[in-house]
Symmetry: C2
Subunit: 127 residues, 2 copies
Amino acid sequence: MRVDHAGLATEDATTMVEQYTGLFDCSVAHEESFDGMEIAFLDLGNCYFEVIEPREDGAISAYLDRNGPGIHHLAVETDDIEASLETARDLDIDRIDEEPRPGAWGHDVAFLHPGSTGGVLLEFVEH
Amino acid sequence: MRVDHAGLATEDATTMVEQYTGLFDCSVAHEESFDGMEIAFLDLGNCYFEVIEPREDGAISAYLDRNGPGIHHLAVETDDIEASLETARDLDIDRIDEEPRPGAWGHDVAFLHPGSTGGVLLEFVEH
């Protein structure tokens, strides 16, 4: 296991990317339009900040409406996402995704429910 | 630069540490009582999750009252925290701490104001 990224919800990815690359002297490792969102991964050296701007109604736009911009989730990389979901089940942690699904950057992802992880939206990622 | 940790605010550090160490097959790298908070750093391999439970009124208890438990901040390690604060000044990013101050685990820390970083509470850490 290792931390893959922290997901940051914003209404203005261009401004955030410009500010964060300057602040942390880092570069954009990957950009894509995915599932109604504009996404940029900033390479912080040991993991990424995923800057997410929604372009359509969905989970991120709902989050922004409810909470304003900020830290949306934390993603942990696993080399066996099915086994990680099984561990979550064994610990009685509610799963948003019962099975892995395609996520950004071509990775498989599965989210856990923040209601059973101390208010933290956690994502498993398998590259 | 590299990500040092994600800070998680909770009302029950014991439960969160037990759940997260099981979920991510990770261990507690460091524990301490610091500035009215019980703190545990979970070693995720490439960086840490800092589990923070307030025992006195302060920034974390105020955060919990306002937002409930969840992801409180992201900390980025720098080898020159004064230079990093200068970069923040140059970018017109408001600083909560104009000078480094002692933080948990004996590190120097300085926080930036989330109002000027897209709603994200960012911390610089120098080991």
